[in-house]
């Protein structure tokens, strides 16, 4: 069997938010770039499985990369959202406390945030809490006005699509199996990657493999990194619960728990998330929700947001933090971004957990800077930082809705009833610039199937549209991951 061999200047491993941000930032320059991803879409692991919060940066130790990049990423995001055409809201955030000890910790957080350069932090009392979040319980709180919320799928997709527009190639279902450094004398470094699909050759290697970044490093011969997977489970609540929560509400963090504590987050689309828990696990891809944690989430969540009702439950999900230190070691380590002398032109980004979503672009610019130190980067004249998303019919005013249907009658056909997603939007998602063909790909791009009926009305229609548009037979329709086939065949031939 002959394998395809593809050559690039830069190979990025992992199409999470960091890999996609690196791709996008490097696509400003005259480089031939590819992103290799083991899954069938971008943002399928940690990047798409979190609270969707743009953090302000007060939770991180002063002087760390986390603190620096988080503050930078947060403050620049209005411009980013504009360029990438993604929904984003600076809702602000409150960290609520009940006891004197909590209060002390909140003042410490405030001071830490101020040292990190977070603007506008304020300790507020009960009255102001009630004003910001009438249904949240707490005696006092740290209020951060610059914290925001965004849709982490859409952000990752937008970065990837913008990179694609600017010439980056994306290869899905390409799990890296082996890396060899093909160093020839007097020749610049050159890496050969064997994936499940093909062979890739690149002068630069950027390891953005998140949960598997230690495995990738090991393939290069760097064996002193270990990722400790730490799972966080969530509940997603109906948009009806969204009426009661407009601002993320967190408890005072308990350093022993490792995360930021079980919090309540409104999503940019109007749902509410409860979570995440924090539990070290063995497997890096075990996204199961467990009864024990579900019970814990409801108990802890109810403490600060008593307005949780069973009828609001839509779905559970879990994400896994790629922690660089174990629970015993305290679970806290700074981002690692480095190029080692033994592996020149290979940049490892390791332990990129929260606030990784917020820090993705600053991290990407650091990668650009590191590449630029080694070779002269020439800016492309035709780089376009603007990407256009799928227009959301539901959010348009009446006159615009009429106009859209006139231009394209498919805007008049509602496929997803709960979220009011039209056939025109579904078709745009099916024909996405990255060539993703899964059902969850359509879901993450449009919100179809994310509502309270969870696809009861629209899933059959969307599966049928994917088959029609992509010329697929039923057994070829994939839900989310390789091997996740939706159907076994036809009932009758």
């Amino acid at each position: 069997m002959t394998r395809d061999v593809r050559s690039y200047d830069v190979l990025i491993i992992g199409a999470g938010v960091v890999g996609c941000a690196v791709a996008r930032e490097l696509s400003r320059y005259n480089l031939k770039i590819a992103v290799l991803e083991k899954e069938l879409d971008v943002g399928m692991e940690t990047s798409g499985r979190n609270s969707g919060v743009l953090h302000a940066g007060f939770n991180n130790k002063p002087g760390t990369l986390m603190a620096k990049y988080c503050v930078e990423g947060c403050l620049e995001f209005d411009q980013v959202a504009k360029e990438l055409d993604i929904p984003f809201k600076r809702t602000g955030k409150i960290v609520v406390g009940f006891t004197e000890d909590d209060k002390k910790k909140l003042y410490q957080l405030k001071e830490q945030g101020e040292r990190n350069g977070v603007p506008g932090l304020e300790i507020i009392g009960r009255e102001k809490i009630k004003e910001l979040a009438p249904y949240v319980d707490g005696e006092f709180a740290l209020y951060s006005p610059v914290t925001g919320i965004l849709n982490p799928f859409i952000y990752t997709i937008a970065l990837a699509e913008n990179a694609r527009q600017n010439g980056v190639d994306f290869y899905f279902a390409n799990e890296v199996l082996a890396i060899c450094l093909a160093n020839q004398e007097n020749q610049p470094a050159c890496y050969q990657l064997t994936t499940t699909k093909a062979t890739y050759i690149g002068r630069w290697l950027i390891n953005c493999a998140g949960l598997n970044s230690d495995k990738i490093a090991r393939m290069m011969g760097i064996d002193d990194y270990t990722i400790y997977p730490c799972r966080g489970e969530y509940f997603i609540l109906d948009k009806k619960a969204g009426d009661y929560l407009k601002i993320p509400a967190y408890p005072v963090p308990n350093p022993k728990e490792g995360g930021l504590g079980i919090h309540l987050t409104p999503t940019i689309d109007g749902n509410v998330l409860i979570g995440p828990s924090s539990e070290y696990i063995e497997e890096r891809d075990n996204y199961a929700a467990t009864q024990k944690i579900m019970d814990l989430l409801l108990k802890d969540g109810s403490r600060i947001f008593p307005y949780i009702r069973r009828e609001f439950f839509i779905r559970n999900f879990a994400g896994i933090r790629p922690k660089l230190v174990s629970e015993e070691q305290g679970g806290y380590a700074d981002f690692v971004i480095e190029e080692r002398t033994e592996t020149p032109q290979a940049i490892n980004l390791i332990g990129i957990e929260s606030p990784g979503l917020t820090s993705a672009l600053p991290l990407a610019r650091k990668v650009v800077e590191m590449v630029g130190e080694k070779e002269h980067l020439k800016e492309k004249a035709d780089f376009n930082p603007y990407r256009q998303g799928i227009l959301c019919f539901r959010e348009q005013p009446l006159e615009k809705k009429k106009e859209l249907i006139e231009q394209d009658p498919n805007y008049g056909e509602i496929i997803c009833r709960c979220e009011t997603i039209t056939k025109a939007e579904i078709l745009q998602a099916i024909h996405n610039p990255l060539g993703v063909e899964t059902l969850v790909g359509v879901k993450n791009r449009t919100r179809a199937m994310m509502g309270r009926c969870q696809g009861g009305y629209c899933q059959t229609r969307i599966a049928e549209l994917i088959m029609q548009e992509k010329g697929k037979e039923p057994p070829e329709v994939i839900y989310a991951r390789q091997g996740g086939n939706m159907f076994t065949g036809r009932v009758r031939d």
């Binding site: 509940f235 997603i236 891809d285 075990n286 996204y287 199961a288 929700a289 467990t290 009864q291 579900m294 009828e311 439950f313 839509i314 779905r315 559970n316 999900f317 009446l398 809705k401 009429k402 249907i405 006139e406 009658p409 498919n410 805007y411 008049g412 056909e413 509602i414 009833r417 709960c418 009011t420 309270r452 009926c453 969870q454 696809g455 009861g456 009305y457 899933q459 059959t460 599966a463 049928e464 039923p474 994939i478 839900y479 989310a480 991951r481 390789q482 091997g483 996740g484 086939n485 939706m486 159907f487 076994t488 065949g489 036809r490 009932v491 009758r492």
Partner: protein
């Protein structure tokens, strides 16, 4: 703005029956709005028989049952729009709908909500485990198999003994799949006895009562589930776990009336039925907005959906003639063993149809209707099951008094 006397939202069995009856009662200006590209609603995918035994005294398939009403709608020249989704309704009875033809606004004198119901999902009951492909609600699996000619799996576990789940157990078996078991968390079946007999027993499919799924396994496609027995509080009993290998989990764990449009107009819902609170005329708290069928409360048989919609049509016709309907200040209360009643309030001035369900199975009981502590009427029943809707015709002369005194419905063991 298009003006209509009556807008019917939803062209399933309730909407069609209401339309036909209204036309027979002389109402001319009717429009049915249907989101799918055919009339008939959920009946289109219910290709099994057993529909119509009450209404037509013969066994029909779902599509046949629907076709009878569709034929009448067409013969009577009742207007309808398919592939048209209503985006919004308001309390002053303005309706916004879209289709490929464009966005259309309507002004109605009366709106009939016959929007049917949706299925409860995995997320709503929070089953632990992973989220692989191969987990389907029964209605979705039924739509794939019966409407799209697509087979969803080969080795199947069904959670919930609701009627659609039972029907799908048989359907999948007939199509060559192996249905390993049907699990029901309650100590008694949720579906009709005839479906237990004809869909499970006839095919030797085991039904495990007081059992549920406590874990879902598989990263990409479903690989198996863990099943546990539950105690009286529905908590899994440790040590009773059993693992089943399967590629498909079908959920038949309840139906919820679809009332998102109703809520937009300010219609008040009953926390028990999840449908509108209505009076004997099927009028909601918003004057001129009516509801019937599964949007109002989940029915066991489609025949009763049609009959309810026909009763509603009479009230709507009267509403159009009179401009209003008499107030209904008498509330219907229930004891703790009655799940709900429809209607929830009456005028005391006319006969009405009382629909209700018991919360647990009874043998040799009577359903009692009393007012001011005095028994007005009792319906003796050899058997009363939560799966079966109970209907009692209450006539005006049953009342001792038409004073404003609430009615109380209770169950008594005889």
């Amino acid at each position: 703005m298009v003006k209509k006397d009556v807008l019917i939202i939803g062209g399933g069995p309730a909407g069609l029956a209401a339309a036909v009856k209204l036309k027979k009662l002389g109402v001319e200006s009717i429009l049915i709005l249907e989101r799918e590209n055919h009339l008939g609603g959920i009946l289109r995918q219910c290709i099994h028989d057993g529909f119509g035994l009450t209404r037509f005294k013969e066994a029909l398939s779902g599509p046949e049952y629907a076709a009878r009403f569709v034929a009448e709608v067409q013969a009577m020249d009742i207007a309808y729009e398919t592939s048209t989704t209503v985006l919004e309704i308001t309390a002053d009875k303005k309706v916004t709908a879209v289709s490929q033809k464009g966005l259309q606004e309507y002004q109605a004198k009366a709106i009939i909500l016959t929007t049917g119901c949706r299925e409860r999902t995995r997320g709503a009951i929070s089953i632990p485990g992973t989220r692989p492909a191969g987990v389907y609600t029964a209605g979705v699996a039924q739509a794939y198999v019966n409407l799209k000619n697509i087979m969803v799996g080969k080795r199947i576990i069904i959670l919930g003994s609701g009627d659609i789940g039972l029907i799908m157990a048989r359907r999948m078996t007939l199509e060559g799949a192996k249905v390993e078991a049907v699990l029901e968390i309650l100590p008694y079946p949720s579906g009709l006895p005839r479906n237990i007999e004809q869909c499970l027993n006839d095919y030797n499919i085991p039904l495990f009562l007081s059992h549920t799924v406590t874990d879902i396994k598989g990263k990409a496609r479903l690989e198996g589930v863990t099943v546990s027995q539950v105690d009286e509080q529905f908590k899994p009993i440790p040590g009773t776990e059993r693992d089943y290998a399967c590629d498909t989990l079908i959920l038949s764990v309840g139906l919820i009336p679809e009332n998102e449009l109703a809520l937009m107009a300010g219609v008040e819902l009953d926390s028990r039925t999840k449908g509108a609170i209505v009076d004997e005329n099927y009028q909601t708290n918003i004057e001129g907005i009516f509801a019937a069928g599964n949007a109002l409360h989940v029915h066991d048989l489609v025949d009763y959906v049609s009959l309810e919609a026909e009763n509603l049509a009479e009230a709507v016709a009267e509403y159009l003639r009179q401009g209003s309907l008499p107030p209904c200040p008498i509330l219907i209360e229930t004891d703790s063993l009655i799940g709900y009643t429809v209607p929830q309030k009456i005028s005391g001035l006319k006969d009405f149809q009382l629909s209700l369900r018991v919360k647990k199975p009874f043998q040799n009981c009577s359903i009692q209707i009393s007012q001011n502590g005095e028994l007005l009427k009792a319906k003796k029943m050899r058997k009363a099951l939560p799966a079966e809707m109970i209907q009692i015709k209450v006539i005006k002369s049953d009342f001792l008094t038409n004073e404003i005194a609430n009615l109380r419905i209770s169950v008594a063991n005889s």
